[in-house]
């Protein structure tokens, strides 16, 4: 009985301490606003992924360029497939709301709509900071070296597969089959968790086509292991080796556009003064040469004109409308 009491006491003590550490403060926001404590930046993904690399680069520039002297801490939490960090952000109030940010990639939007726990109204989109372009690729050993080869083979009765990581890749897929006039039965989507898994399947010859962000495909394009057959944009990418990928419009099909954008959300409860602060620092950050150097290093692009809620919200709203029309959920 003594042991039972002891363990129960420890349980209560430790659980209580952990709850207390993870709990939120509920005091109100300061009027003359500047960060007064560490800013918690939630990510619904693992360290090392695209979201993480972008967030770390932003924090680095904010701090080293003296744009913000605030402390930032990244909270990686994949609970609920990323839904929990959305909840933590949206429900934050007062000082906590003023010190809480959420990193969002466009592929999170379909997940959010599907899960139905949150809507855009629960958040303030502070800024859309960058976008990446997707490519359609085949293996160098593939008998199909172009979109035309693929369409011709399908017309000849061949069934093919395409592989991609998240919802952003799935959107490129839906736009591709719509553009080239084939069905989901003609080209079946094999969903994977991430780009590397997709690239493995295509390089190993298990699947014919791969959708990948340009940056993730770079080493394989440079080595010649993969061939880009089209870009999911209405213009070719400017630099080699990506500029070898033609637009679908150039090939005689309908052009498609699927920029994979990244944004920063805050709680709808974030005080106005804090919103202004973040909009200002993110605007300054995206205008630094360092940000451009970073984007160039990973072959991403700067998105101008979507800093601030009044500009970012309509863009994301349109995107949501498209998702609702493209998917059945």
């Amino acid at each position: 009985m003594k042991r039972m009491t002891l363990v129960f006491s420890v349980l209560v003590l430790v659980v209580g301490m952990v709850f207390a550490a993870g709990g939120q403060q509920s005091d109100g926001a300061a009027s003359d606003w500047k960060p007064t404590r560490t800013i918690e930046w939630h990510l619904g993904s693992d360290p090392g992924g695209g979201n993480d690399i972008f967030t770390r680069a932003m924090i680095e520039i904010l701090n080293t360029k003296g744009i913000s002297d605030a402390n930032f801490t990244i909270n990686y939490n994949k609970d609920g497939d990323g839904e929990v960090v959305k909840m933590l952000t949206s429900r934050a109030t007062g000082v906590t709301a003023a010190h809480t940010l959420l990193g969002v990639v466009c592929g999170d939007v379909p997940s959010m709509i599907r899960a139905g726990n949150h809507t855009l109204d629960d958040f303030i989109p502070l800024a859309i900071t960058a976008s990446e372009t997707e490519l359609f690729l085949v293996s160098k050993n593939s008998p199909y070296k172009s979109v035309d080869d693929i369409v011709a083979a399908i017309k000849g009765g061949k069934k093919m597969s395409i592989t991609g990581g998240g919802y952003d890749d799935q959107i490129s897929y839906l736009k591709l089959i719509d553009s080239i006039g084939v069905t989901e039965e003609d080209i079946t989507l094999i969903r994977t968790r991430a780009n590397p898994e997709s690239l493995t399947m295509v390089m190993g010859g298990h699947v014919e086509i791969c959708i990948s962000k340009a940056s993730a495909a770079l080493p394989y394009l440079e080595s010649g292991d993969m061939i880009p057959i089209a870009v999911a944009a209405s213009n070719r990418l400017p630099s080699a080796p990506f500029n070898a990928a033609p637009t679908l419009g150039e090939l005689g099909y309908k052009n498609i556009d699927n920029p994979v954008w990244r944004a920063i959300y805050a709680s709808a409860n974030m005080p106005k003064e804090a919103v202004d602060y973040y909009v200002r620092i993110f605007k300054e950050m995206t205008e630094t040469p360092e940000w451009q150097v970073f984007l160039d290093s990973i072959n991403a692009s700067r998105i101008d004109g979507y800093i601030g809620e009044e500009k970012a919200r309509p863009f994301i709203k349109d995107y949501e409308d498209y998702i609702r029309s493209a998917f059945s959920f």
Partner: protein, 503 residues
């Protein structure tokens, strides 16, 4: 071959700076400490240290992170052996024999067997990696959904060898594991299964809190609720007594070498993970080779097979990471992120465009293996103190470790709740003598099997012919069928023989 050796030694030359050697040593120590803390592990350690590595050269940075990764595998076995708390999937198999040895007062033997086997497995993996890295990476690419299905079916059969005395109870345990694993997002369709409106369940049940609760916390419940306790305290670990004897070396070397080779090849398959290698290594030892005492009762052959496969698989997973930029594990994904942050493009050209870095990385893993073994031996006297702690202190400490470990994995109370619930379920399993290993193995393997199987059938439009489309998948499927049919055929032959005798 000579060119490979030259480049390999060049890798050592690149590493031999004071800064890098110290970084490897610090990495090993940190890795062992992090690994010994259930739920923290290499992933958290490497993620936390990633920003700090900006201040080092990429080679020093990857050497530090690689050493943490390596040291972590050594440390991961300590809590499994001493406290029956596996901090991750691979350590689960180490508990099966490591903890019984602790109960027998032979924790020193278990720890040293684990240390030496880890070193043997890691060295085998690294030697294979040095000479065949590009070829291994290409071989890894051959494993598509059909080949993965075959391999995982083979791995699943190993569960049947671990069900214990009651096959029915083992089957129930296995099926429950599969059922729990289906909770959450279905990768293939994107559907959310069995979430009951709870958003935490969207992401499924996290593995580490589950295993900490199921194996570790259930032991705590048993200790406080039953007069007969399992935990042994006060057993001293002297180095001399703990060192394997000549006879014990003979016992541990063959399984360690076999598992080292097997683990390396399983490790190169992207997405397969060290746990699959460990299960296969352990199962291979149980099914095909003799052990002096039965596996699961404190056999050093079991620890050797599991620990060697773990380290070898981790070494093998560097082949696709360095060769193609394809991470074989979540730790590999963080390392990949690090490579990109340091301005390197891991991929097919890494060995030609950055040979210093690629070979330096491999050489650093060799050094990390030696340092980790040395550090592992040095911490033995301190480990002794864990078992010298009185029960009334040790129980709250273990409880705290369980809570903190499960919290740090998911960084939320969700992990703690899962751990507590799993502890109760694990206790009930033990109370009614349902084996827990099939549950855990099914929980880990079945989602991978389901995903691979469904992807295969999507690619083939439902045709089973895809499983006989390549030599690799054909061999795996035939082996699987052979394993399934063996007991039936044996029993049929036995009956025929009996009938012919009676006739």
């Amino acid at each position: 071959m000579l060119d490979t050796l030259r480049m390999f030694f060049h890798g050592f030359a690149v590493l031999m700076t004071f800064e890098t050697v110290i970084a490897i040593l610090i990495g090993c120590i940190m890795g062992i400490i992090l690994g010994a803390m259930p739920g923290i592990g290499a992933l958290a350690g490497i993620s936390l240290l990633l920003p700090l590595t900006y201040m080092f050269s990429p080679i020093t940075a990857i050497a530090l992170l690689g050493a943490i990764y390596y040291g972590n595998m050594f440390g991961g076995a300590y809590s499994a052996i001493l406290l029956n708390i596996p901090g991750d999937g691979p350590a689960l198999m180490t508990t099966l024999d490591g903890y019984p040895l602790t109960i027998q007062g032979k924790s020193g033997k278990a720890l040293l067997t684990s240390n030496f086997s880890s070193a043997i497995g890691g060295t085998i993996g690294m030697i294979i990696l040095v000479f065949f890295a590009p070829a291994l990476a290409r071989l890894g690419l051959k494993f598509g959904p059909a080949e993965m299905t075959g391999l995982l079916l083979l791995a699943m059969t190993s569960i049947s060898w671990l069900v214990g005395d009651s096959p029915i109870k083992g089957l129930v345990s296995c099926l429950l594991g599969i059922l729990v694993a289906t909770i959450g997002i279905d990768v293939v369709s994107g559907d959310i299964r069995y979430h009951f409106g709870n958003m935490y369940l969207f992401g499924g049940i996290p593995f580490v809190p589950l295993v900490i609760g199921f194996v570790g916390f259930s032991t705590v419940i048993a200790m406080v609720s039953e007069t007969k306790t399992h935990m042994v305290t006060g057993a001293k670990i002297s180095m001399r007594e703990s060192m394997p004897t000549k006879h014990e070396w003979k016992r541990l070397l063959p399984p360690a070498i076999r598992s080292g080779i097997l683990g390396t090849f399983v490790g190169i398959v992207p997405g397969c993970g060290a746990q699959t290698a460990v299960f296969l290594g352990y199962a291979m030892q149980k099914k095909f080779f003799k052990s002096e005492v039965p596996l699961g009762t404190g056999a050093i052959e079991g620890i050797a097979a599991a620990e060697s496969a773990d380290n070898a698989a981790s070494a093998g997973s560097f082949a696709p990471l360095l060769g193609f930029g394809i991470p074989g594990s979540s730790v590999g994904a963080v390392l990949l992120g690090g490579l990109m942050m340091w301005g390197l493009n891991p991929g097919p050209l890494l060995f030609s465009t950055n040979p210093d870095f690629a070979w330096g990385t491999i050489a650093s893993l060799f050094i990390a293996g030696i340092f980790a073994l040395g550090c592992g031996l040095l911490v033995m006297p301190w480990l002794r103190k864990i078992l010298s702690v009185p029960m009334n202190i040790l129980i709250p400490v273990v409880t705290t470790v369980c809570i903190v470990g499960s919290f740090s994995t998911s960084r939320s109370m969700y992990g703690v709740i899962i751990m507590l619930a799993a502890g109760v379920v694990g206790y009930v399993f033990n109370k009614f003598e349902y084996p827990t290993t099939p549950f855990m193995l099914a929980f880990i393997l079945s989602p991978m099997l389901e995903t691979s199987l469904r992807r295969s059938l999507l690619i083939s439009r439902g045709s089973l012919a895809i499983f006989f489309g390549t030599p690799i998948s054909t061999v795996f499927i035939l082996l699987f069928i052979a394993i399934l049919l063996t007991p039936i055929v044996r029993s049929a032959i036995k009956k025929i023989k009996q009938n012919s005798k009676t006739a």
